[in-house]
């Protein structure tokens, strides 16, 4: 039963990663690519971490997984913000005289 739930969660997570990768490859500019990628990362990784937490043997492992997820969330959000900001700077610098 637990394996079934975990498997379904991992499959869902993998789907979001797949969708994000397709978005990264197909979308036309940096901002829309970021949009696709960060949503996929956040949701996909979240689902996979939940699946691993369900399967984990001990609370120490579960808490570690949760902390890893939070750290990646923070890093992704910050990186996304920085890339978007740099792109915005470039756009405004190039678009205006």
């Amino acid at each position: 039963m637990i394996d079934l739930i975990a498997g379904a969660l991992i499959a869902c997570g993998a789907f979001f990663f797949f969708a994000g990768t397709v978005g990264l490859l197909r979308f036309p500019d940096a901002l829309t690519r970021l949009h696709a990628l960060t949503k996929a990362d956040t949701l996909g990784l979240g689902l996979i971490v939940i699946a691993l937490i369900v399967r984990a043997d001990s609370w120490a492992v579960r808490i570690k997984l949760l902390v890893i997820w939070l750290l990646v969330l923070g890093a992704t959000a910050t990186t996304c913000h920085m890339i978007a900001r740099s792109q915005l700077d470039r756009d405004t610098a190039g678009g205006q005289p």
């Binding site: 923070g74 890093a75 959000a77 910050t78 913000h81 920085m82 900001r85 700077d89």
Partner: protein
């Protein structure tokens, strides 16, 4: 899992092939970093977590940052920056001393191996004598300690070479143009956490994957992050202290090794009862030195001429 392994192997071969044929510099760097990450997965699959950590941190993270930095300099500046800066007598004293020490260590290691006839095999290295429980750390710091000692010497010489080539004061090449409030806040949160993680990795090195190289890399990344965002102002160290800290790990390692030679007649053959403590002491100082060396290589974080890199310009 066999299917996964085959897929991973195919991916690595594909990346390697692409890496060799591509001509675009940025694409090459991206592929190199991707290849490193894939390779780390391979190390995990064959159970070599220590090697995987080192591959990700040093082979991919630090090297990737250095390559990107170099590419930017190649694009924005004419190649004149490669001109070797004029060495001042005071600045060349330390490199000379370090060079002598490194040469001496190399000769001592060579003499040791020659006298022993052949290096002892790992089969003769009995687990009951391990100074620490983690076999990888035991091999790095005890069984093949002279290899590690000379590696640290090479790292130190690399920094001195970089300083000589670009001028020690030309540091701070990696710098965020405008860190922005979010990045500054994230760095403030992350820096204490990263220092703790570095300490944990160092301590864990005795029993589990981890150790001085991994801990030092995390520390180096922390220094670079804090320095390029300007979120944390590290009090400027006097030049002699900064340079001393760079060389500290090597000096302590060499000192302990030489001390062991004075007692026991063989370099780096620690006395049994203190071996664990000595290994920990060496690893702790190595962590600090490796962190500073990597930070100095990546962005000239360590001031050397009594000045430190100016804080990044404020946001527009």
């Amino acid at each position: 899992m066999a299917a996964f392994d085959v897929l991973l192997a195919c991916l690595l071969f594909g990346l390697a092939a692409r890496l060799l044929v591509t001509t675009d510099l940025f694409e090459t760097i991206t592929l190199f970093v991707s290849f490193g990450l894939g390779l780390a997965l391979v190390w995990v699959r064959i159970g070599a977590i220590d090697v995987a950590l080192a591959e990700v941190a040093l082979g991919t993270g630090v090297t990737g940052a250095l390559l990107i930095n170099t590419r930017r300099r190649l694009e924005t500046k004419a190649p004149e920056w490669l001109e070797v800066a004029a060495l001042r007598p005071a600045a060349s004293l330390l490199p000379a001393l370090v060079g002598l020490a490194a040469g001496g260590a190399a000769l001592a290691a060579l003499a040791f191996r020659l006298r022993a006839g052949a290096a002892p095999g790992f089969a003769d290295y009995r687990p009951a004598e391990l100074p620490v429980q983690n076999p990888v750390t035991a091999v790095l710091l005890d069984f093949r300690a002279y290899d590690t000692l000379l590696e640290i010497g090479v790292l130190l010489l690399a920094v001195l070479g970089a300083w000589a080539a670009r001028g020690a004061e030309a540091g701070g090449t990696l710098r965020a143009a405008s860190p922005g409030p979010l990045l500054s806040a994230a760095v403030r949160l992350l820096v204490p956490l990263m220092v703790v993680v570095s300490g944990v990795l160092l301590w864990l090195g005795a029993v589990a994957p981890g150790g001085a190289f991994q801990a030092g890399t995390v520390l180096g990344a922390t220094l670079v992050l804090a320095s390029i965002t300007g979120a944390l102002r590290v009090p400027p160290l006097p030049a002699w202290a900064a340079r001393g800290a760079l060389a500290l790990g090597f000096a302590v390692f060499l000192g302990v090794g030489a001390g062991a030679m004075a007692i026991d007649g063989e370099i780096l053959d620690y006395p049994q009862e203190y071996a664990g403590a000595l290994v920990l002491a060496i690893e702790a100082t190595l962590t600090v030195s490796i962190g500073l060396i990597l930070a100095a290589l990546a962005g000239g974080v360590v001031p050397s001429g009594g000045t430190r890199p100016a804080p990044p310009e404020e946001a527009r």
